[in-house]
């Protein structure tokens, strides 16, 4: 009986790290979308050596950068580890229900599809479920992790034939930001990291208006609420995909409406805004003077109060 307990304790001791460690982790795209990663145990050393040597011999024109490992794969290397991620995990292209996993990196606007690898630094071999990065050290070469095999530096079309390496798409990290208008100001400014396009096309939803062709632009706020800002780059002969972010338009006119001279007596209000110049203010009670002072977030002013319009 005592021996049984000892064996049990030993088993638990060795199994504890696996029990305690979560098998999956949520990684995040730069724009905050969850990408699922899976922790996996490493090969034995003999397997690492054997797999690395076999693959190196089969692909003599590629350079082994790191030994075979099944703790991470191409997708994890291209979009997670090469970007400084610290979680060494395996990333699948899709989840078991068929929903997106890897593709979240470019469908949420974190990356945009660009025309070639002069612009893009992430490469998706879309027919072969494989990804790579442009080599940061050797011009014209890519670097990618070959499944649970080694990490290799290789020519764009040199690798396992079932990666179907002729079918490539290129992606570029794009930092689309909105500043200076939410919640303050009458405008919403948007800018992207300049990706070297000849021009840019900006687009927005109905709560904003404006556009432009530069790497930054300014939109006029029309209404409070949810909106989107999108941009794409125009190169000679091709156009990138759209990068879109969600924004909340607010604060066109707002703040506390107070009766002049009686700041402690706030007139609780709700406002619906049409354009940037008119507002309908519903007050919970009527102030004495014929005018009220309104502090606009983009400035301040005095609006006349017409008691005849009270409801």
């Amino acid at each position: 009986m005592k021996n049984t307990y000892i064996v049990l304790i030993i088993c638990i001791f060795f199994a504890l790290p696996e029990i305690l460690r979560s098998q999956t982790i949520d990684l995040f795209t730069p724009n905050g979308t969850v990408v699922k990663g899976i922790y996996l145990a490493e090969f034995s050393q003999s397997e690492i050596d054997s797999r690395t040597q076999t693959i190196a011999a089969a692909y003599p024109n590629a350079t082994v950068l790191a030994n075979a490992s099944q703790t991470y794969n191409c997708h994890s290397y291209a979009f997670n580890l090469s970007e400084g991620g610290s979680n060494v995990v395996w990333v699948n292209r899709i989840k078991d229900d068929g929903s997106a996993n890897l593709t979240n990196y470019w469908t949420d606007g974190s990356y945009i599809e660009v025309c070639n690898d002069n612009i893009g630094d992430k490469i998706h071999y879309y027919s072969g479920d494989h990804t790579a990065i442009k080599s940061p050290t050797v011009s014209g070469k890519y670097e990618s992790k070959w499944g649970p095999g080694p990490r290799m530096r290789h020519a764009p079309d040199y690798g396992p034939p079932d990666y179907i390496m002729a079918n490539r798409r290129y992606y570029k990290r794009i930092e689309l930001k909105t500043t200076g208008g939410v919640p303050c100001g009458s405008n919403l400014d948007a800018s992207i990291l300049n990706i070297g396009a000849n021009s840019y096309t900006w687009s927005t939803s109905s709560r904003l208006s404006g556009g432009g062709s530069g790497a930054s632009t300014s939109f006029t706020k029309l209404d409070n609420g949810s909106a989107t800002v999108s941009v794409r780059g125009n190169f000679t002969g091709c156009t990138t995909s759209w990068s879109t972010i969600n924004v909340t338009v607010s604060g066109i006119i707002g703040g506390t409406v107070s009766q002049s001279g009686q700041p402690d007596r706030q007139l609780v209000s709700t406002m619906s805004v049409v354009g940037n110049s008119q507002a309908t203010v519903s007050l919970s009670y009527l102030p004495n003077p014929s005018s009220i002072s309104v502090t606009k977030l983009s400035g301040s002013g005095t609006w006349s109060y017409n008691s005849s319009t009270k409801i």
């Binding site: 098998q23 397997e47 693959i55």
Partner: protein
């Protein structure tokens, strides 16, 4: 009346013989077939370094006529010798990698057309001595073949059970005898044919477990990535326990 009965008997026996013809119930295998295809270029040869991926496929292609004439044993060995079968272990899905090989390698396509493929591949799986594997990649080429649905469809129920039995037996051997050479996640590979048979036959307890674990589902469906959570984990034990119960 007698003639009618005789005719009926003849028809019944013909039907039975036709059914039998779909699967070879027994077969002998030749582990050293004389007609194995000799690939003109292989990794390690100087010329190999001059090839593009498209040329890898071309120079290792087996002529269709040669494939048609070859014995099933010869085709199996030719698959195990196929210089590009190592790519299966580099793919995120063994199933898709097998599909690609089937579409691009006449030797595999011909093998999968043979009625004797199921029986012969099963016997080959049983005969394969794990201690003689030179690399884990070679083993992957065999288990990926055994667990491929295009192979399983050539097996009868007893042969499918035999795959599960053999898979478990080999797993037991590796765990007991080769714990240092093979990592646990590689040992899983030998269980893949068992998992695939149960999945192929829609064995309900396994399907239920697959609904509970995305990793188990991926592994059974695709062979990669390997299972997380170690030997005592839900996924690993699901395959082992379900295989044992399946055989009861």
């Amino acid at each position: 009346m007698k003639k009618l009965l005789l005719l009926l008997l003849l028809l019944v026996s013909l039907t039975i013989s036709c059914e039998k013809d779909e699967f070879l119930e027994e077969c002998n295998i030749d582990l050293n077939p004389s007609d194995v295809y000799v690939y003109p270029l292989r990794p390690g040869m100087p010329e190999w370094a001059n090839l593009t991926p498209e040329q890898f496929l071309e120079v290792t292609q087996m002529p269709e006529k040669t494939a048609r004439k070859m014995s099933t044993d010869g085709l199996i060995q030719s698959w195990l010798d196929y210089p590009l079968n190592l790519n299966i272990s580099l793919n995120n899905s063994w199933s898709k990698a097998m599909d690609f090989s089937k579409a691009n390698f006449n030797g595999l396509a011909e093998l999968l057309n043979r009625k004797s493929a199921g029986c012969k591949i099963l016997e080959r799986f049983k005969a394969y001595d794990l201690t003689k594997f030179q690399t884990p990649i070679e083993r992957t080429a065999l288990v990926a073949l055994v667990g491929y649905f295009d192979v399983l469809q050539h097996m009868n129920d007893e042969q499918l059970r035999e795959v599960v039995r053999e898979s478990l037996s080999k797993h037991d051997y590796l765990i007991a005898e080769q714990p240092d050479y093979y990592s646990l996640s590689t040992v899983q590979g030998i269980l893949w044919p068992a998992a695939r048979v149960m999945y192929y036959l829609e064995y309900e307890p396994l399907l239920e477990d697959m609904k509970k674990s995305e990793e188990l589902m991926f592994y059974v469906q695709r062979g990669a990535p390997p299972l997380p959570n170690g030997y005592g984990g839900f996924e690993f034990q699901s395959i082992i326990q379900n295989a044992k119960n399946f055989l009861k």
